[in-house]
Symmetry: C2
Subunit: 144 residues, 2 copies
DNA sequence: GAATTTGGTAAGCTTCTCTGACCAATAGTC
DNA sequence: GACTATTGGTCAGAGAAGCTTACCAAATTC
């Protein structure tokens, strides 16, 4: 039975390993005040900044929750809110210098962990995994 | 950039789709009082019952959290606790009739969702996905 | 210009999770 | 057999994260 776990649970195990690995790297680099929930929101901030509503949709939480997490990120100096020039109601969340530095650490950790996975699965297996998950996203991610 | 998401995030998207799909099916079948956290614990209960400590380790939470969730499952009639014959300190958590019925619904939903995925990925892609994730588990799941 | 939609915040509550402290039974050691 | 360490589990308290309901202001639609 141990080989017949459902695909969702298998995905959860892998995701959790990646997330905790990245958080450990962030903590080791002095960004220990970042939480998993904050990271999931921050990971969705686009290069030109994103609106809170966008972040909420993409992370799968309500806009209130997203706003709450952005508040925390702002207080910790990771992001800043600037007016959206195209809409006076909206504000764009974008990375502050501290946030950019943390993102660099996180990216490095991701690459390192993916390399570990890649060594275990082989180049071919890794490519197949990425392709399957990316294709799957077309039907599982409503905010693609 | 939209094709270059890291593998952890891709796994998260798929996992989340599966989880919410199963929870919807459970709700539709009259098990709407089950939460995601309860489900993650319940999904680890073995056929002969499991100890709270085991469930905690496998689900990646503290034993207090696992105990708290098992309390809820017990109050809702999904599981029961019986003494562990091999250790007087321990108790085994196992499914009550209502829990078994819910598991059946969940399994059915899993199978149905996996079939949807399979149609999208093709038989070959699905096999590759499952194999890669299962292999990955060897290095990402410490409680395998 | 009125009505609707959209971006966002405020308040209050529930659920989930943790840390720290503790107890009881088991296992290991002398 | 007594001493200690380990293991299974609970209790108490706190914080994090998420939701619902309600609301405001700007934009859009009619």
């Amino acid at each position: 039975m141990s080989d017949e776990l459902n695909l969702g649970l298998l995905c959860y195990i892998a995701y959790r390993a990646m997330e905790s690995g990245v958080l450990e790297a962030l903590e080791a680099a002095g960004y220990g005040d970042l939480t998993a929930a904050q990271g999931r929101i921050a990971a969705r901030i686009g290069p030109a900044g994103s609106r809170v509503t966008e972040l909420a949709e993409q992370a799968g939480v309500t806009k209130q929750t997203a706003g709450f997490l952005v508040d925390q990120l702002e207080r910790s100096g990771y992001v800043e809110r600037v007016p959206d020039p195209s809409d006076a109601r909206a504000r764009l969340v974008r990375f502050a210098p501290r946030g950019k530095a943390a993102v660099a650490v996180a990216r490095e950790a991701e690459v390192r962990i993916e390399a570990t996975w890649s060594r275990h699965l082989g180049r071919r297996g890794t490519t197949q995994l990425r392709r399957a998950l990316t294709e799957l996203r077309e039907i599982t991610d409503p905010y693609r």
